[in-house]
Symmetry: C2
Subunit: 241 residues, 2 copies
Amino acid sequence: MSSLDKFPGIKALTFDVFGTVVDWRSSIIAEGKALEAKTGIGADWAVVADHWRACYTPYMDKVRNGELPWTNLDTLHRMILDEIVIKFDLQGLSEEEIAEFNLAWHRLNPWPDAIQGLERIRKSSTIAALSNGNVSLLVDMAKHVGLPWDSIISAEVARHYKPDAIVYEKAAQLLRLKPAQVMMVATHVIDLEAAAGVGFKTAFVHRPFEYGKERRVSEFKLERFDLVAENFPELASLIGA
Amino acid sequence: MSSLDKFPGIKALTFDVFGTVVDWRSSIIAEGKALEAKTGIGADWAVVADHWRACYTPYMDKVRNGELPWTNLDTLHRMILDEIVIKFDLQGLSEEEIAEFNLAWHRLNPWPDAIQGLERIRKSSTIAALSNGNVSLLVDMAKHVGLPWDSIISAEVARHYKPDAIVYEKAAQLLRLKPAQVMMVATHVIDLEAAAGVGFKTAFVHRPFEYGKERRVSEFKLERFDLVAENFPELASLIGA
């Protein structure tokens, strides 16, 4: 059975990346520990990772509300990291070390099931990253760990961040598809709601360990999404890939 | 020996697609013949293919000079095809058949050496399509024949066509590289000259059969380019990949 049988109109699946495809938290912690091993300059890297990620939305909001002109995610990550250096007393790091640590976001590792699931889905549909990460971040990440994207669509191209509607609209337009022919895959309700708002189909994938080892169950009602899956292989099965 | 040995600064190679990676002419002729077999409506498909391609630059010029607003290549191809239908007396084709024939450009076949060469180069450098084709054309083509791009950069994103300088500048910026860290690969001198104009390194690849079986030798002086190769495997060897 091909995906055409179960979702006859779906031609492409677009994937949120941070949290949905890759485990940003454990990857950033590991990069922090490696930096500490090299430099002797330490911190509670889990707290650093959570703080870095917590500042992500407020910084994108600065772009969204016009406080900042269009600024890509590498640059926003660096602005946050400059604050982290002060807050966590990391001033002993060299400029080169700080710049390299900022690129940790280009080297995030996928969830264990992600590549296997993507490879399956790719056989019957176009798979595209649809991420707030900038193009070079997404290209480097895909090359680093072997994410088999057919297409990488970045907020950097739309010059707007998800969940702004224009990002999803632009993605469908670039893929030459109607919104109803595209399924957004994410572990974040806000992303899926925005995609549904422009007419995408939606698949929620549980990533209960995104914020650490204590399993978090989604507190949201998930029935409103077209699909709910535990992981990418289950998603592949649900769409008949 | 890695590419870093021979071209230590090069981090990415950007590839022209039509003519350099794929053999548009024989592919379009084959699609025309298949259409004729299905519909009984015929033409000299080599003449059609050459005419279609010959109108490519004049139509991009309409965008460049402001006669047309930004218009992607699928749409320009369709505008030319609408003229072809009249010129070559193909009015018996249905709208569906014409629309499908226009998508022949999404299904072009690579030169026999292309994929093997790209796979080799990809091991040591980022490889990106840098084409006037629109995103969906390039994504469909890559999926259709298995072109292993790390990144697909389209004129559609810059909203300018090569050889406008901004297209190359945008590509370097999206890849987070300085122009001198990028090598443009093409079989067209004008493309390489424009890339060199913004600081890219350049590699000319001979594609003597782009315009048919009668081998054409480049009449241009090629010494000004950083590399000249007969095909992609030779290019791979020249950069040490």
